[in-house]
């Protein structure tokens, strides 16, 4: 790049002269060796004061090509844009008039109104301003100069339409809306419950090895084995039995006794450890009863040193509920589908009190079976061992014992487990999801009003890239709810909604500050896959280059100065793109753009001519009388 910038903004006449001298003086060595292209940036209000600087530049015979950007509105009340004699006019240096660096969004039409330009607010015309960043590219500088030399007054208002950079906020909003639609899509999934949250997996209940429940089962098994051994010992050919085996009834009765104890203990547990439906939990007395009966829970078996200490809690991200939802949402479940699955899970984890299940005890272990075992016949029935065991009731006793234990484990998982997921927690998490979804939908609705059209394709591509980040936002919300539970569902709904609004706002601000691919803090160490080639995205560049030149663009003009622009005159657009995309963009309608050798920026620089008589070039120094002469009567 060979474009040098001479900024006269804010300088007095003497300072401006000194700055020009420092740049042009060939002896002092303060300036560059060659000045092929010089871009002068000046204040509109000081052009008169700096009038001597421009002839100085011209007369130095050092500058090959000169371009001037003048910044700020015209003098109060003046209709004319007063220019030093060698600026503008039909032979002077081309002048780009930026009456408002922050610009407006404007369509070239007489009746078109100024709209606020979304995105980062630019207040200064420094090297960071997109127009200056563009004009320092040799090829663009030359093209602008060439084009403007064809204008009758060589003065124009610049407008910009940049691929991927000019309206980052709007692009981000549009892309996020695309991602939101995916995340909030009702979907058509089956809505299965989360298996890992169901009591049988989450509860962790089991029999303590030497507890009473296990002992009763052990006794029953022992008696059963003893009977089997005796039957086996007495069995003759073909499994036929002889009469007179006196110990068998005693063992059968012992098995019956063990089953009775087991049944009674299960019944006692379910009766005395019953907790009515509601927020109430097991009382210490009830918890002791459960433990003393020989039930233990995995969560209680964690070594003491590994358990969270008082006052600390398990991090939300390690909670079962979070892990289940994280898997589902990262795996593509939408918010509504995850909510549906939570609802299905809620129904299966709902406690209804252990007392309600007591009626099943008699079905699983009928009194008749107990009586049958207690009254085992003195004479052992004939037949093979299996048949005899069955007739003695031992098979049924074993099955009943197993069923009773399955029942008590099932009840323990659902009703008493300290690690069981509660339906209240699931309701709150579902409400948090819905609150988040509501805020996201509101955001998407707002974004849909933003400029779209030709940017839709880009928004869709970027939306794909933002999707994983958006999912992290949803999970962040779930973690927040689990870490600080709301008092109830409606509160969780409201809180999540409000938090999501804040997160979205801060994400948008983060993007404005650091670019559309910048990851917000809640995304953790997520890698944004597929977002990096945006600047080189050929499709995006093509869209920008084909954007209709008279349509709404970022015009660097104050609303009050729009009347100075000639909406009827031909509007010229300097289209530019990186040489790297030249091959991909070959055959682009409308002729070849300016291929830039550096930078990746692409788009259009729109030059709207000023109305005849607005730009007036006047020879002379800073002269109040001269300035006044330029005023309209």
């Amino acid at each position: 790049m060979t474009v040098e910038i001479l900024s006269l903004s804010g300088l007095s006449a003497a300072e401006a002269g000194a700055a020009a001298t420092a740049l042009l003086d060939i002896d002092s060595g303060s300036g560059p060796d060659r000045l092929e292209r010089l871009l002068v940036v000046d204040d509109t209000g000081r052009l008169g004061e700096h009038a001597d600087v421009y002839p100085q530049i011209e007369n130095s015979n050092r500058v090959e090509k000169l371009l001037c950007v003048t910044v700020g509105s015209r003098a109060d009340g003046s209709w004319k844009l007063g220019l030093p004699g060698n600026l503008g006019g039909n032979q002077g240096t081309p002048v780009l008039w930026v009456s408002r660096p922050a610009g407006i969004d404007w369509r070239v039409a007489k009746a078109a109104k100024a709209n606020r330009h979304a995105g980062v607010t630019v207040t200064a015309m420094d090297r960071q301003h997109p127009l200056i960043k563009l004009l320092v590219l040799d090829e663009v500088f030359d093209k602008v100069q060439e084009v403007m030399e064809g204008f009758p007054h060589r003065a124009a208002s610049p407008g910009l339409w940049l691929a991927g950079a000019d309206d980052e906020a709007a692009t981000f909003a549009g892309a996020l809306a695309v991602a939101i639609r995916r995340v909030c899509d009702p979907g058509s999934g089956p809505g299965d419950p989360f298996r890992d949250l169901l009591p049988d997996r989450a509860g962790g209940a089991r029999l303590a090895e030497n507890g009473p429940l296990a002992r009763h089962l052990g006794r029953l098994g022992e008696s059963d084995r003893e009977v089997a051994r005796m039957l086996d010992g007495k069995g003759g050919l073909g499994g036929m039995l002889r009469r007179g085996d006196g110990d068998i009834p005693r063992h059968v009765a012992r098995a019956g006794g063990a089953l009775t104890s087991l049944r009674d203990l299960v019944d006692q547990l379910m009766r005395e450890a019953h907790v009515p439906v509601g927020p109430a939990e097991l009382e210490p007395r009830q918890r002791s009863l459960v433990r003393n009966a020989g039930l233990e829970f995995e969560a209680e078996m964690v070594p003491r040193m590994l358990r969270p200490t008082a006052g600390t809690a398990v991090p939300a991200e390690e909670r079962l509920t979070y892990r289940a939802l994280a898997g589902a949402i990262r795996g593509g479940d939408s918010i509504p589908l995850a909510g549906k699955r939570l609802m299905a899970t809620e129904q299966q984890v709902a406690r209804h009190g252990s007392d309600k299940d007591r009626s099943r005890i008699a079905q699983l272990c009928p009194q008749a079976l107990i009586e049958m075992l207690a009254a085992a016949p003195r004479k052992t029935p004939r037949g093979d061992i299996d048949k005899v065991r069955h007739e003695l009731g031992l098979d049924q006793a074993k099955a009943a014992a197993q069923a009773l234990l399955a029942l008590i484990i099932d009840v323990a998982n659902r009703e008493w487990s300290p690690s069981a997921v509660t339906s209240a927690e699931l309701v709150r998490v579902r409400a948090a999801l819905d609150g988040t979804g509501k805020a996201l939908a509101e955001y998407a609705r707002g974004a849909s009003g933003a400029r779209s059209g030709v940017r839709a394709a880009r928004a869709a591509r970027l939306g794909d890239s933002l999707l994983p980040v958006l999912r992290e936002l949803v999970l962040h919300q779930i973690a927040a709810e689990l870490a600080a539970p709301s008092a109830n569902g409606p509160e969780a709904l409201r809180s999540a909604h409000d938090r999501a609004v804040v997160l979205l706002t801060s994400w948008a601000a983060h993007v404005q500050a650091h670019g559309v691919t910048a990851l917000p803090p809640f995304a953790g160490d997520l890698a944004l896959v597929g977002a990096h080639p945006i600047e080189e995205d050929v499709a995006t560049v093509r869209e920008a280059l084909l954007y209709p030149v008279r349509e709404e663009m970022w015009q660097l003009c104050a609303p009050g100065d729009l009347s100075a622009l000639d909406a009827d005159a031909d509007v010229v657009s300097v289209r530019f793109a990186s040489r790297l995309t030249a091959r991909a963009l070959a055959g682009l309608p409308g002729g070849e753009p300016v291929w830039t050798s550096s930078g990746t920026v692409a788009g259009q620089l729109r030059l709207v001519q000023l109305r005849a008589g607005v730009a007036e070039s006047t020879w002379g120094t800073a002269d109040p009388a001269g300035a006044q002469a330029a005023m309209e009567p």
């Binding site: 439906v277 509601g278 927020p279 609802m343 809620e346 129904q347 709902a350 209804h352 339906s423 209240a424 309701v427 709150r428 579902r430 409400a431 819905d434 008092a487 109830n488 569902g489 409606p490 509160e491 969780a492 709904l493």
Partner: protein, 333 residues
């Protein structure tokens, strides 16, 4: 914008008081609008900090006459509820009328601000509060029945849940009607309008079982996390049928066979009925209302006409006789 409001407070006191009015209006049920007003409390900045109320007014335009009728219903229900609650704390389960200006050409009703959010918004998250919700809703209906009023539009839009207080609030009495008058057809989503009130099958007289149809659907809506009841057999879900001792089956049938809210509490939930007995003050009400309707009919033409002599007011007294019970809900058996 400051305004002067002249109205009759629920105590009967006539007030003329400065008020700041929020010009933003929102629909309040059918043919009514609501806006917020702040009554001055005498302090210099009283208009900003004064008592906040909802002002319900008939919509302008073609439906204004219907709006008058809706407003009448709101005022009547509000006054009757105050009568029933006289000497006790006003039931929090029901929106409270603060005052009304019923007879002018620009009538309005003033209500305390509603508390809570509509069940349409939060009904899907109340399964943990279901017992409290059930008790609140049925208590509210008992109070209404005690006042001899059927709400007729119990739905997720008219019933609110205050999650801070854990309380139900029944709002929007604009379609309410006293027991014993002929049912008028109601328009709206069929899932929330009982068959006997739908335009194509409207019949019979308003009674204390009218609201139970919607209430039980609302119970299902809350218990099922926001799903509407579409089939009778769904009432068996979530143990609802068992909770109400099998009474819910009758709710789907014709109004004559339905249990009342009180019966759902006493015979269904098997809980004691806690609401106090209600003094039947309807004869004085009838006389007062007749006077009011005549006065208003004289004042403007586009409002409802005067009552028909010997007309439906006699029917209000019909209902207690019609039911075998000692009275409509309020009198414990």
């Amino acid at each position: 914008m400051a305004d002067m409001l002249r109205f009759r407070k629920f105590t009967g006191e006539k007030l003329e008081i400065a008020a700041r009015v929020n010009d933003l209006e929102a629909p309040a049920g059918e043919f009514l609008t609501t806006r917020t007003v702040w009554l001055a409390d005498g302090t210099p900045d009283g208009l900003a900090d004064g008592l906040e109320l909802r002002q319900h007014r008939p919509v302008p335009g073609d439906h204004r006459a219907a709006g008058y009728a809706r407003l009448d219903s709101e005022i009547l229900a509000g006054r009757l509820l105050h009568q029933v609650a006289a000497g006790r704390e006003y039931p929090p389960e029901l929106a409270r009328l603060y005052g009304d200006e019923a007879t002018s050409a620009e009538p309005y009703a003033l209500f305390d601000p509603y508390r809570g959010e509509s069940l349409r918004d939060v009904g899907a998250y109340l399964s943990a509060d279901f017992d409290q919700f059930t008790a609140g809703l049925l208590s509210g209906l008992c109070w209404l029945a005690g006042a001899g009023i059927a709400h007729r539009s119990i739905s997720p839009d008219t019933v609110l849940w205050d999650s801070f207080a854990g309380q139900v609030q029944i709002t929007d009495f604009s379609r309410s009607a006293p027991f014993g008058i002929a049912r008028t057809p109601l328009r709206g989503a069929e899932e929330w309008i009982s068959p006997e009130s739908r335009p194509d099958s409207c019949s019979g007289m308003v009674g204390p079982t009218d609201d139970v149809w919607g209430a039980v659907r609302l119970l299902y809506y809350v218990r099922s996390n926001g799903n509407p009841l579409t089939r009778r057999d769904q009432l068996a879900d979530f143990g609802l049928a068992e909770t109400f001792s099998g009474l819910l089956d009758k709710v789907i049938g014709p109004p004559e066979g339905r249990p009342t809210a009180r019966e759902l509490i006493v015979d269904g939930l098997r809980r004691p009925y806690l609401l106090p007995g209600v003094v039947d003050s309807r004869k004085s009400l009838i006389a007062g209302r007749e006077k009011f309707l005549n006065a208003r009919a004289r004042k403007y033409r586009d409002g409802p006409g005067p009552p028909v002599p010997g007309g439906f007011w006699d029917d209000v007294l019909w209902w207690p006789a019609h039911r075998e019970a000692a009275g409509p809900q309020g009198n414990p058996r």
